[in-house]
């Protein structure tokens, strides 16, 4: 029996199952709208682009980003620690299947990024079609190297080759950019694992699955999810003195969770920064409308978290009623989202918004209320 093929089949089933939920959710509209708006704004930006724009820097940055942040899937399960153990040395086909699977993912990621970067390059740099192809090929290879180096447990292979490829761009040798990545790929091949590093691959799978579940949970309830936690002493001390000291039990739990979990405060800050970038790219074109867009995107991800927390919490037997928990979560979410809207509204004024800032804020408030009303 081919273990990889069986696992891949299960993975496909899971993806198809959850895709159906995602596609059926009316919330997808917000994402479509964001993409269309983003594409339009980017086009505006490209039209007004100065030929002296430092595109080499953008390519170099893209090269540096591509090997980073990969979360490879290995399809390893906890039970494999027992049941797959006797076969570890023999299932090379499984390892190759996992490698190929991740190569495809890494390539798609690189191609998506290049779809965005390429129009910028062709407009500002004088490149031959062979050089453009070389840059695209290098980006795919760098992304693959970044992902495979995590699988093989070899650090820095991706970063070193990315720095070398970036240097070649600055040296005016874009045609040679794939070479460092190819060398890194060869190095990874020589130093590849001969048997499955079970615990490492299990940890990779769990991290990657948690990310997949996080995205799916925007659309459908997935109570069993791991949380990534950061201590954040400063933030916690601030809210402790101002809010938590007087807060009831439910607000206390959610306040600390929002401050420390990587999918609450981080999410807001991340989307806030992206929104500011979009406003800058829009060059004053209805920047106020960016506010409801990004507040909506934040709410889309933040609001459903309640159901996940509600299911896993010990609060089920504590004297904290579900209504109290619901009220507490809404209390925090409303303040966070309104705060985000106000900050974005103020930034939009700096980027030239006028009446549209007010309309944007009102729309953002409406969107927040809409999402919170759905939380019952």
């Amino acid at each position: 029996m081919n273990v990889f093929r069986t696992r891949f089949g299960v993975w496909m089933e899971e993806v198809v199952k959850y895709s159906r939920y995602v596609a059926n959710g009316g919330l997808l509209f917000t994402l479509y709208f964001t993409l269309i708006y983003g594409a339009f704004v980017y086009n505006q930006f490209l039209n007004g682009l100065d030929p002296s724009f430092p595109s080499e820097w953008v390519v170099a940055l893209a090269f540096l980003i591509l090997p980073l942040g990969h979360r490879p899937r290995t399809l390893i399960q906890e039970a494999d620690q027992v049941f797959l153990l006797p076969e570890l040395g023999r299932i090379r086909s499984y390892m190759n299947g996992v490698r190929l699977f991740n190569v495809v993912f890494a390539s798609i990621r690189a191609l998506i990024l290049m779809l965005i970067v390429l129009p910028l390059l062709v407009r500002t740099l004088e490149l031959t079609s062979a050089e453009v192809f070389a840059i695209v090929f290098a980006s795919v290879l760098l992304s693959v190297v970044g992902r495979l180096s995590k699988l093989e447990g070899i650090r820095f292979a991706g970063v070193v080759s990315a720095v070398a490829s970036s240097a070649l761009v600055f040296l005016g040798l874009p045609f040679l950019t794939p070479l460092p990545a190819l060398a890194a790929l060869l190095f990874l091949h020589i130093r590849r694992n001969e048997r499955i590093p079970l615990l490492e691959w299990l940890a990779l799978e769990q991290t990657s699955k948690a990310q997949f579940n996080r995205i799916v949970s925007w659309f459908v309830d997935l109570p069993e999810m791991r949380e990534e936690v950061k201590e954040r002493k400063l933030v916690v001390r601030m809210i402790e003195r101002s809010v938590l000291v007087r807060a009831d039990a439910a607000r206390y739990i959610y306040g600390l969770r929002i401050a420390r979990s990587k999918d609450s405060l981080d999410l807001i800050i991340r989307l806030l920064l992206v929104a500011v970038l979009v406003m800058w790219l829009a060059g004053g074109w209805y920047v106020g409308m960016v506010v409801p867009l990004f507040v909506g995107l934040t709410a889309l991800q933040l609001v459903p978290l309640f159901k996940r927390l509600d299911t896993v919490s010990i609060a089920s037997w504590l004297p904290i009623t579900r209504i109290e928990r619901l009220v507490a979560y809404k209390w925090w979410t409303l303040r966070l989202l309104v705060g985000q809207a106000l900050v974005l509204g103020a930034v939009s004024l700096l980027f030239g918004a006028s009446w549209d800032a007010l309309v944007g804020l009102l729309l953002a408030y409406g969107i927040v209320r809409y999402y919170l009303a759905k939380l019952t």
């Binding site: 949380e227 969770r257 401050a259 979990s261 919490s313 010990i314 037997w317 504590l318 904290i320 009623t321």
Partner: protein, 245 residues
């Protein structure tokens, strides 16, 4: 303190408990004993108000979950078999949460936290996150969270799993102190320890209470010699019940 009266309950489409009746008085530590699947956890879930009974009632200190969920829950603390802690809260913050949920005055909470943490050798771990706890530490953290509340009823599900011998001894001492003001219902498979520390026993078999009483009363009921252990009594009780069916 706890009155379970003719409780019929279980899950949707599957009745597990049949006319379960027993009580736990203030100052008592009662052992809930049964084989796997006997209905111990289902009984506990009903007492915690997590399951809706088909019929019958559960009363804690005169309060039912139907009359006031919040007041009812304030009277119960619980140590589950598998520790469940918030990843985002340190142990000290878990204890603060218990203080807020059970409305414990700040000074009392501080005093109890210090004393219990010292007893359970968890002082150093107070500012740690559960993710770095060992299995035993997680269990101790759950025990601290429950004991700090000083509720009239403490429910304990297999408390000794994952604890070292010293921690088990300390826990039993804490139970002895706790029951002076409260009642404790403890579900366990470790009959030897239960025999030494429980005041009474409730034997549960296939969702039915087959016997209740002290070890002496149960020996008498099943005509066993005075040196018969709780293991012997339990095996005999199951045999008698199986033969009768």
């Amino acid at each position: 303190m706890l009155h379970v009266d003719k409780l019929n309950g279980g899950y949707i489409g599957k009745q597990v408990l049949h006319d379960v009746t027993f009580e736990v008085k203030k100052g008592e530590l009662v052992g809930l004993i049964g084989l796997n699947g006997a209905g111990k956890s289902t009984t506990i879930k009903h007492i915690l108000g997590l399951l809706e009974p088909i019929s019958g009632s559960v009363t804690v200190d005169g309060e039912t979950v139907q009359s006031s969920e919040k007041n009812y829950r304030k009277k119960i603390s619980y140590i589950p078999e598998t520790p469940i802690l918030y990843d985002t809260l340190t142990l000290r913050e878990h204890l603060t949460l218990m203080g807020k949920a059970y409305e414990i005055p700040e000074r009392d909470l501080e005093e109890r936290t210090g004393r219990l943490a010292k007893n359970m050798r968890m002082e150093k771990q107070l500012d740690w996150f559960p993710s770095v706890f060992s299995k035993g530490m997680r269990q101790k953290a759950m025990i601290l969270c429950a004991l700090v509340t000083k509720t009239p009823l403490l429910i304990v599900d297999e408390p000794f799993v994952g604890l070292d011998p010293l921690a088990i001894r300390q826990l039993l001492q804490l139970f002895d102190e706790y029951k002076e003001e409260s009642a404790i219902l403890m579900s366990t498979h470790i009959l030897e320890t239960a025999e030494r520390h429980c005041d009474r026993f409730v034997f549960l078999h296939q969702g039915v209470v087959i016997a209740t009483g002290t070890a002496g009363e149960l020996r008498e009921k099943y005509a066993l010699s005075p040196d018969a252990t709780l293991d012997d009594i339990y095996v005999e009780a199951i045999d008698v019940e199986e033969r009768a069916r």
